[in-house]
């Protein structure tokens, strides 16, 4: 049982739902990312997704695409992201880390080296959005051996695929709230509640929901039916909006505080 599994157990015993923010590491720069992670935990985040910036992020909407481009300007790599996890841990952050990356950077690092590094860099889970079950057999086996959860995504259109996808999953199941890419939205796929119930029928591990969740009302709503709620683009947009503050020494703390307050109110 890794740190993420333990976190879900504790939350369950307290009848609480995990708030799971996402951010792109290196946006606006590495040092600031570490400070933001500290603020997110202080604001009540339970588990964090650390995004590896990628040149061609197919599953992401414009907000995360822009964050990726900003981070890539600093030459952020998959290794940088892992090192950031360690730095955040050294800064006192105790929550589990999930590495979110497209497959190609993993492939270029080499699977042997990647899993070796994952184990020594405080990573509890992996999300690789462009690796459906048909393409992930080898990775899932290696993740198991490394004691890291390979977190599967299921979509409202997964239908009869759901059982196959979730039956042997570990960590948690990531339910995609609606069709489309990441990004804030006001409405979700029709029948999303039913979809989550279907997923729960086939698995006993925690079920989290993400894609498009941005408001306190949405978080509260999904907290009633899920074990975790992922908020990505809304936080990345908040970070984007305070970059001018973060870049100025005299307003940096104000910027960090603004991010913290945004995340804290999501949980209110």
């Amino acid at each position: 049982m890794n740190l993420m599994d333990q976190t879900f157990e504790v939350l369950k015993s307290q009848n609480r739902t995990a708030l799971m923010p996402f951010l792109t590491v290196g946006d606006p720069d590495i040092e600031t990312t570490v400070e933001i992670i500290v603020q997110l935990e202080a604001a009540g985040a339970d588990i964090i997704e650390l995004g590896v910036p990628y040149s061609d992020p197919l599953a992401d909407g414009p907000v995360i695409q822009r964050a990726s481009q900003r981070a890539l300007k600093h030459g952020v790599t998959i290794r940088t992201v892992m090192e950031t996890a360690v730095k955040a841990r050294e800064s006192g952050v105790t929550m589990p880390f999930i590495l979110f990356t497209y497959f190609n950077p993993v492939l270029q690092m080499g699977l042997d080296l990647f899993f070796k590094e994952v184990q020594t860099h405080e990573i509890s889970g992996l999300i690789i959005p462009d690796l459906p079950i048909e393409e992930s057999e080898d990775i899932r086996r290696r993740a198991d051996e490394a004691g890291v959860s390979f977190i599967p995504l299921v979509a409202p259109t997964s239908n009869e695929r759901i059982e196959k996808i979730v039956s042997n999953a570990s960590g948690f199941v990531y339910c995609v709230s609606s069709l489309g890419v990441t990004g804030e939205r006001s409405s979700f796929h029709q029948g999303v509640e039913e979809f989550i119930q279907t997923v729960k029928k086939y698995t006993n591990i925690p079920v989290a929901i993400g894609f498009g969740i941005s408001t306190q009302e949405q978080v509260a709503h999904f907290s009633q039916i899920c074990d975790g709620v992922v908020v990505g683009s809304a936080i990345v947009r908040e970070i984007e909006s305070v970059i001018p503050l973060l870049n100025d020494v005299s307003t940096r703390q104000e910027g960090l505080l603004q991010i913290r307050e945004f995340v804290a109110q999501l949980k209110a």
């Binding site: 695409q65 393409e135 979509a155 997964s158």
Partner: protein
């Protein structure tokens, strides 16, 4: 040789379906529908009818006598895909995918385009079939190819400028896939090359193989035997795979795929995916890819917008690795020189893409004998390129 791809869309280690789960159902549905219709003779009849009556197939296999004499003793034939409606081989695939979309009950189609050739072909087919059409095009390309943007609009399509990433073809492809994820219920994605997730590379190959099938019949009629060498330009590689595929089992037929060396394969400005790329996953499939050591995709460069792409179709990667097809780079300058030679010897202005294949033939033909037959896939006509050629050469022809 075993049949490729396998049931997971793999050509050896290449291909596959590296896409978000949100797209998997749509791809499986597409594959099932394609397989059903491919087995239905009336589907092929519909395609054949439009290829003949609408696009003007079959296209000639023309013996380029003056070009042949200029280059020595070998006989050079041109497969005249440039004579298709809309001016390139792209229409073969667009017609077939459009008809498939109609059979699947989809009322809307989308496409990605670089220079605008596939966008124009898709807009044309959408008009023909009475479908709503959106074309994604990098913002940079909409500026460089304003005339094609207007063409598409004239045909009733909506052109959506893509402002993400490098604002060129690869980003247009990303954006089309993203749009498709959100609108899979009523939208069909007419992908323009033999790239992307399974079943696209297989489907596009099968819709383009008409090029090779006709060539085979025509050369047997003209010469009583198969050619020694086939030469075709490769960006994503749809015309090349269409030309090569029917000859794969014919060991005596050598095949050469010509990619763009831009300003040179040792500069930062080329699109020589096979020469300089490494294995990677891009836009849904495993193939050769121009990328840095961290797996970030590198922007390609070529004077030819159709070859200006950092990836390549997975079946080409497979054919390279099993050494069935040889892939060679040709520079911007070599392609321009070849274009001018074809203009002056044959009165044919080829597309810059096709000029790359001609340039390779300029290199190899002088070494061949009178018993050798070369077929060039002249994938498109050069009208679309006249402006950029003029800009490149300063309007002064030597």
């Amino acid at each position: 040789m075993t049949q490729v791809p396998d049931e997971n869309g793999r050509f050896g280690k290449f291909g596959g379906r590296f896409v978000p789960e949100t797209l998997m159902n749509a791809l499986l549905e597409l594959e099932e529908s394609y397989n059903q219709n491919a087995a239905d003779p009336s589907f092929q009849e519909e395609i054949d009818y439009l290829l003949k009556q609408y696009s003007g197939r079959e296209t000639p296999l023309y013996y380029a006598e003056r070009l042949s004499q200029h280059l020595g003793e070998a006989k050079i034939y041109l497969k005249r895909e440039d004579l298709n409606h809309t001016g390139a081989h792209k229409i073969n695939n667009a017609i077939a995918q459009g008809l498939l979309a109609k059979r699947m009950g989809k009322k809307k189609v989308i496409a990605e385009t670089g220079a605008g050739q596939h966008g124009v072909a898709t807009a044309t087919v959408a008009a023909l079939l009475g479908m709503e059409c959106k074309v994604f095009m990098g913002e940079e390309d909409t500026k460089r190819q304003a005339l094609n943007v207007f063409r598409m609009k004239l045909l009733g399509a909506e052109v959506i400028p893509v402002t993400s990433g490098s604002r060129t073809l690869k980003d247009a492809g990303n954006e089309a896939l993203r749009y498709w994820v959100s609108n899979v219920d009523d939208t069909f994605y007419i992908l323009g090359s033999a790239v992307g997730p399974h079943p696209y590379p297989m489907m596009v190959r099968n819709f383009q193989r008409v090029i090779g099938d006709e060539t085979r019949r025509q050369i047997l009629e003209a010469e009583g035997r198969l050619p020694n060498i086939l030469v075709a330009p490769v960006g994503g590689g749809s015309n090349a795979i269409g030309m090569f595929y029917p000859f794969i089992e014919d060991k005596e037929v050598a095949m050469v795929g010509v990619e763009a060396a831009g300003k040179g394969v040792d500069t930062d400005f080329h699109a020589a995916t096979m020469t300089k790329g490494t294995h990677g996953v891009f836009q849904g499939s495993m193939s050769y890819l121009l990328q840095d050591q961290h797996g970030q995709v590198i922007e390609a460069h070529s004077i030819s917008a159709g070859l200006d792409y950092p990836g390549v179709g997975p079946e080409h990667s497979y054919l390279k690795d099993i050494e069935r097809v040889k892939y060679v780079p040709i520079s911007d300058q070599e392609a321009l020189d070849a274009l001018q030679l074809l203009c002056r010897t044959e009165g044919i202005i080829p597309a810059l893409e096709s000029a790359h294949a001609v340039a390779e033939v300029i290199k190899i033909a002088p070494k061949l004998t009178k018993d050798d037959i070369i077929v060039i896939c002249l994938s498109g006509r050069g009208d679309k390129d006249v402006e950029s050629i003029m800009a490149y050469t300063g309007g002064v022809q030597s």
